[in-house]
Symmetry: C2
Subunit: 320 residues, 2 copies
């Protein structure tokens, strides 16, 4: 089965509601902006390790995508982001109140997509989904808190990206395992596989912001530096800087930006002196290897694991 | 059992989450502002018609109160309300982003309070809750839409208050009935009882805004008139006004307010000429009688129905 095509077709069948259109058009709009649909794909691939019957897995898989887009909708409003996937965000195209309320109903619709799960599994699935949903909110709140905090430790930062990004990827795989009838131990290894891939992926995003190829990255290179974002790279540099390097960072971070290119160049020079790039790559690799270790311990045939392995490599851009 | 005391005690036991406190303090704050806790009371009274074992009903009953406060939190933000129960609203005390995100996690926590429901009942309870939650969002969106719409019909208005306010009260009773083991028909009569009481209650609120006693109403009398709110009273007056009366309304509604007292007096004079008060009272009474009719048809002993009957009278302030 062509899973991405299956996901696209199933998403197109979803009905979010009719009236008022100011409530439901924004949901159709953000869901229609596309994206890689990684989360439902992870759920389906997780289930396929244990079953060929993906029919009952499809709607719960879509729930993860609806939930993810709900978080994007509300996060874009909170971050006052003008664009999402190159298109106006919902609060820009409509208004902030519409973004709040259509986001709220998206969260309800995400829950509804679970309700056909077999009654024996439904409580555990919903408990794990709800725990994950709360953790994603916690991650977003930490991220916002960090903007105004003077010091953020590296463990605090890693915990924030774990909550904000990684736990949902872990849940998607665990969900697939539970629905596919996996033993609890396998579901747990898959959850950890997804979480570690998520951590690696987010750190790779931090790295590409500074060292990525502008042509393929899709965002402005150095954007995190210009906006003083406390990334793994910056926090590591601040922790390891000499007095002179600390002075360079202090002259640029949290100060009015006269020349963005000069700021990026100066901060990157400190990163280069401190070997921040290879250090970040080493941590990414550590999470990636840990992820593969968890996947290896899942009790399913290697042939069935291959698409997950391949997807993990793709997410790391180690394979096209 | 003293149900209000039971609800207060059970609410005090709820744990919403620990960190970050910027996420969870606002939840504890709004839940701590008090209120009449009508919704969980309706659920417990609905269940008590059919069972003496209210233990398994308590957490789902609290879910309705957490959900209700979630809607207050987000609605206050959307309406830019400065005060809630005489205290600063969450977006005022913290900021709008905190209000968005702690509201989101409240909706998750509301769902979680259902997950101990017996597996055989869980899907139907969650489906009905989710449908109700989406309808409440629809009602709020219609309410916001109406602010900028030139014409709103009376059926449109009644449908808006049904969605925004009444369906949740209906659900609370239906939930109690389902958890108490009621036959489907009784659950449906209770749902309709609650919905009709909700409609009557909201219309009574519209009426008290204009004709209430300032000392006991708790809000500024005439506030709806000053803010051009399209209430049942205004829409009925506009529909029945003579050319001269229409001109008086047009001179005041949707115009800059030079003298608020004069505006209230002028609009109220038109209401008085058109007998808007007795007309509204008649409609309130119609919904109230319809509610009692549904309660009468529920197959439970009259003695058990008495507290619900009494509560309905209290809500209408026909009995203290």
């Amino acid at each position: 089965m062509d899973l991405p095509a299956h996901i696209t077709a199933a998403l197109a069948e979803l009905h979010y509601g009719e009236a008022p259109d100011t409530l439901y058009d924004p949901i159709r709009y953000i869901m229609g902006l596309g994206g890689k649909r990684i989360r439902p794909l992870l759920t389906l691939l997780g289930a396929h390790l244990f079953t060929d019957d993906l029919g009952p897995v499809t709607k719960p898989a879509l729930a993860t995508e609806v939930f993810h887009n709900f978080t994007l909708l509300h996060d874009d409003l909170m971050d006052q982001a003008p664009l999402r996937r190159g298109q106006p965000t919902v609060h820009e195209k409509w208004n902030p109140n519409v973004a709040i309320l259509s986001g709220d109903v998206m969260l309800v619709r995400a829950y509804e997509l679970f309700f056909d799960v077999a009654p024996a599994l439904l409580p555990v699935v919903l408990r794990r989904f709800s725990q994950t949903a709360a953790e994603v909110c916690e991650g977003q709140q930490w991220d916002m808190n960090f903007e105004t905090e003077a010091t953020v430790s590296i463990p605090q930062y890693l915990d924030m990206i774990r909550l904000k990004t990684a736990v949902l990827l872990g849940f998607c795989l665990e969900l697939g395992a539970l629905l596919g009838g996996a033993p609890a131990e396998d579901a747990e290894h898959l959850r950890q596989f997804g979480t570690d891939i998520g951590l690696a992926f987010q750190l790779r995003d931090d790295l590409l912001d500074v060292y990525g190829d502008a042509a393929t990255f899709g965002k402005r290179v150095g954007g995190d530096i210009v906006s003083d974002k406390k990334t793994y790279l910056l926090l590591t540099a601040q922790a390891q800087a000499s007095a002179a390097q600390r002075a360079v960072l202090a002259r640029h971070i949290g100060q009015p930006v006269a020349d963005a290119d000069a700021k990026v160049a100066a901060v990157r020079a400190v990163y280069d002196e401190l070997d921040i790039r290879p250090q970040t790559e080493a941590l990414i690799n550590e999470y990636f290897q840990q992820a593969l270790h968890h996947l290896a311990r899942v009790g399913a045939p290697d042939a069935r694991k291959q698409p997950l392995h391949h997807l993990a490599l793709q997410l790391m851009e180690r394979e096209k």
